[in-house]
Amino acid sequence: RFTELSNPVEWASVPTPLPNVDIGPDSALSMVGMPYYREQLLSAWPSHMVFEVGKPPPKIDSDILAKMKMHDFVGYAPNPRRTRRYQVETAKVQEKPGQVQAPKFRSEKAREGDFDDKIDENTPWSAVTGDLRPFDVPAMYHKVEIKYSRFGVDDFDFEFYNKTKYSGLETHITNSYSNPLLQLLKFTPMIRNYALHHTTRNCLTETCLLCELGFLFDMLDKANGQNCQATNFLKTFSSISQASAMGLFEEGMPRSNQSLSGMIQSLNRFLMEKISTDFKSCPVEGRDELDLENALITSSMTCIKCSNCGTETMRPSNSFVRELAYPKKAKTLGTFSTVLKHSIERDGQTRGWCDKCRRYLSLTTKKVVHDVQPKVLMFNAAAISPESKMYWAERNWLPREIGIVVQDRKFLCYQGAELNKVKERNPNVVVYELVGLVAEITGDQDTAPHLVGLIDVAFTTPGERKGSNWHLFNDFLVRPVSQEEAMNFAPAWKLPSVLCFQQKSESNMVDNSWKNNLDTSLLFKNLPLALSTNNCQPLSMDESPTPGTVFAIDAEFVALQKEEIEVKADGTRETIRPSRLSLARVSVLRGNGESEGVPFIDDYIHTKEPVVDYLTLFSGIEPGDLDPMQSKHPLVSLKVAYKKLWILLNLGCVFVGHGLLKDFRIINIHVPKEQVIDTVDIYYKKARQRKLSLRFLAYYFLRQNIQTGNHDSIEDANTALRLYKKYLEFEDAGIFEQMLNN
């Protein structure tokens, strides 16, 4: 039966035969035609949709690539399931997680009236840890950059990066990669003490790095958290040709074959040896000239045994720095102390000449450590090989303390609970504590690696130590961190380079007695070169400075490198480096007494580097002035000029001058506020926020025209002194405010 009103059966249409065309690789697709259409085509896309072009190709996370196993041409790896399958990256520009924006310039803040510093100091640095993937570098480890506004470096808010009382070191100085190692040495009490004591001596060697370390450590102490620069240390270091030969200089090294970690380890070796030598040339009173060397060196013998005749020969092999060697093919990862023992003993096989057998044979070598134990044990971690990275990936692998016993030509090393047991039964065990370390931070491919220091600053706290106090020293960024944070590593981005242990008995032995032993002879001497033309009279013995003695000071500079700017594609301009200035002349005048205003220092500094700009108008220095062959002025080395000022500083003298902040920065000295009287600050109208020039002040208050030609530091220092005296007069009469407002 059929229903009467059945729907007609639907049949497929009889298709029209297809055009007999062949669509080859070069033929147009329009060879197959379109039917006529009366409505919008299906292929039409809505026009409101917005698509973005120009996105960089997505990056595959490095940990996935690390786990990838190749099979044919496909790399397989387990899916970490960080996002959904094929989830789009929403951010147009992939920002590095945890990147912290540079703070506003001080001048910007001042303009915007933004004095609100109440932001929780932790926020910018720690808020991001939540979202970090295992290979992401936390914010505080990122390389920090100084920004320069048109007001120069003073406008940069260093405080944003460091709210501790431990000063950081600035970057943008040649070879400042060494900053973390310098900090590590500073917080190793033994080395600190030796350096400062040495510096008080009359060591005049220009290339003495121990002196420079002393100056630097003193500056870091005095700055008490303010940013410092290792300018003079690095300048001296950079002038040592031996260091250049060892490849310790940043400049001129192609980026590709420069392993920063390798450089800092070589530097470590070089420095230890260099300061030991420096110490010998001018030892501290009452100490052996080998004192420092003995404190640093691990002396050992290499025992070479012939495999044929069994003859043993011994050769001394001393070293300041031990390199860690990681056992290969170890079934289980050993502890740090087993690695240490392995590294020190270093059994090995070599082919060599046997005197007895008179032929080349395979020899077994074994290192034997004597019982002399250094006070400071430096290790280079040399964590390059995959197996070494496996060790450092272990959590809490690095022990806080290790104990070493050398008995019967055997080197024994203990840690942890075992050490505590050994301590009880063996009085000969020497216990070392970890002072700190230098670690290399490798970001993603786009950023060059850099170094940071992780240091327990508690060791240099005088007196009894209460627990540990770890700090991160990332150039001028300094932050307290947990011990957990400091002593754990992540092979993807953080690996140790240098480890520093110190004998427990030396901890917290902070010796500040050097301040009482200053050799001040330099102040009273007229060096042969210093045949003064500027009525310069050296201090007589009855003019010996005492705390509070006032001196007027002014310094002049020349430029060694022009300012360098960056102009981006969008036209924004940024100063990358302000012009690099160098001290060219410094004048110090007596501030009181009969000879008030008479200079006793007027040093022109012998400058070896080429000068790109003498800035003659401002400095009064003319080409040739700093060249001993041409100069008509007495030239001294930077070290001599510096040391005089340093002695005055440590005698507690007070410096009067105009705009001294810049002068001190370039001299590379930190003078505590109590010891500075700056006429810029005295004659500062708070309401107008304007700094007044020396020339204007001289004209207005002293009715005197100065700086009519090129500047002259004696004139300027003298003017500042007289302005100060004028100020004292006004103050005395109680009319200073009134005078200033006029």
Partner: protein, 464 residues
């Protein structure tokens, strides 16, 4: 222009792709679907031209002429179709009733224009041989003549000239002086603003340079154009003109042949008249030549006036006008037009390459379609979803199945196109594919994926 009977709806170009609203204020890295594909205006223009070329007259009674068939009469006076059944009126030019047809050659399948002059009796064979010379005149600003022959298929004695066909072209007459001209209501230059005058002058120079180029080729071939008149010059593209109907006068007036030099000098004057009338926006500008020249002097640069003075009066030294002189007079404009035509080339090439790219992407997407999810090979080990085909499937997901954080689909055409392009080129970029169970990542380069697709495809075609 005829609508086709059996498919009475003309193409709805606006339905092709939505016209908008186009988003304004997009950032430089943002695109809408319109920016990713060919511009609608270009596509529409080309499609209309193609459509016009393919237009046929249903139930036509027009005969085949020589090797040409499918004749469609065109009325060049009326650019727009005037209703379905309007009969085109023959023109009367060249002293004969004249018809214009579009026709298809059965030699090469291409469309040509047949221009038929009714009632022409050829008495001297040499007359029609003149066209041979013209055939060799190849200039981008001259409509090439391909043939000339006499015929009686229309039931009379006709001569037919065969020219290149330029669909949707218009004459300068239509454009500047026709009833629908957009220049129609423009007032004389005095009332126009500076910019308008500059634009007009720009156009004039473009015309001058192109006509000069055409004349140079024609004169160098020992011929004279004789048709430099607004109704004999076609505008085939924006600002692109071509001298039409060349050779016809040479055939028609073969007997009373005037000296070549005279005819060529006449070309210069006709050239001047044409430019003058367009500049003055008045077809009769020559009637008051002095006034018109004054106007030119007031409105345009002195160079234009100098050009006109030269073509009207000849060189100051007396003697005939020469192409050399003319060209060096306008060389400055010439080089500018040269530059713009090279620019135009660059634009066309980049558009063209984009379309070719799309063509390749279609082929690629079809390969995807051929390979993926073939049910009949499910049992076949080699074709199962492992190895190459598994990768191809995951790649398809990678390209099309992007999601956002909430798991909602993301329809990102740019992502699709850029993936396909990279795949097509086989770049070394590595991407991370994720298995459907989300357990594994597969890292593979586009180069390898391309190879995998090619292998699968050729496997498939071997079976086919």
């Amino acid at each position: 222009y005829y609508a086709q009977q059996s498919y009475s709806q003309p193409l709805q170009y606006h339905l092709y792709a939505p016209l908008g609203p186009h988003k304004q204020n997009l950032l430089s890295y943002q695109r809408t679907v319109h920016d990713l594909f060919l511009k609608d205006s270009i596509r529409e223009d080309l499609q209309k031209k193609a459509e016009a070329t393919l237009q046929i007259l249903p139930n036509s009674t027009l005969p085949n002429v020589d090797s040409y068939h499918s004749l469609v009469p065109l009325d060049l006076h009326v650019a727009k179709p005037q209703g379905k059944n309007a009969q085109p009126q023959p023109q009367s030019t060249f002293g004969h009733t004249s018809w214009v047809y579009k026709a298809t050659s059965n030699k090469d399948g291409l469309a040509y224009i047949l221009r038929r002059l009714e009632g022409f009796r050829l008495s001297n064979e040499k007359a029609i041989r003149v066209v041979e010379h013209w055939k060799r005149v190849l200039n981008a600003n001259v409509v090439t003549v391909h043939d000339a022959f006499t015929t009686r298929v229309f039931g009379d004695n006709s001569i037919v000239f065969v020219f290149d066909y330029f669909p949707l072209s218009q004459t300068l007459q239509d454009i500047h002086f026709g009833p629908n001209s957009r220049y129609q209501n423009r007032h004389h230059g005095a009332h126009q603003n500076q910019t308008q005058n500059a634009n007009t002058e720009h156009m004039l120079w473009s015309y001058i340079v192109q006509i000069a180029s055409a004349l140079k080729t024609i004169h160098a071939a020992g011929l004279a154009a004789r048709t430099i008149q607004p109704n004999k010059i076609l505008l085939t593209n924006k600002n692109r003109i071509r001298i039409n109907c060349c050779s016809i006068f040479d055939v028609l007036h073969f007997e009373n042949g005037r000296p070549l030099l005279e005819l060529q000098q006449d070309d210069y004057i006709a050239f001047g008249k044409l430019i003058l009338s367009i500049a003055c926006n008045n077809p009769h500008a020559m009637h008051n030549a002095q006034k018109s020249m004054d106007f030119i002097g007031r409105t345009f640069t002195p160079e234009l006036k100098n050009f006109l003075l030269y073509v009207f009066n000849g060189p100051a030294s007396g003697g005939p006008r020469t192409m050399d002189e003319l060209l060096s007079m306008i060389s400055f404009q010439l080089i500018q037009n040269f530059d713009s035509s090279l620019h135009q080339n660059d634009v066309l090439e980049s558009q063209f390459s984009k379309e070719l790219e799309n063509g390749r992407l279609v082929r690629l997407l079809c390969k995807f379609g051929f390979i993926n999810e073939r049910p009949e090979f499910a049992h076949d080990h080699k074709w199962s979803e492992t190895g190459d085909r598994y990768l191809i499937m995951l790649l398809r997901d990678y390209i099309f199945h992007q999601v956002d954080e909430a798991g909602n689909p993301v329809l990102d055409l740019v992502h699709v196109l850029s993936c396909l392009n990279k795949l097509d080129a086989g770049t070394d970029e590595r991407i991370m594919l994720v298995s459907r169970d989300e357990q594994n990542c597969l890292i593979v380069s586009f180069r390898e994926l391309k190879r995998a697709i090619e292998a699968s495809y050729s496997e498939l075609s071997k079976r086919g």
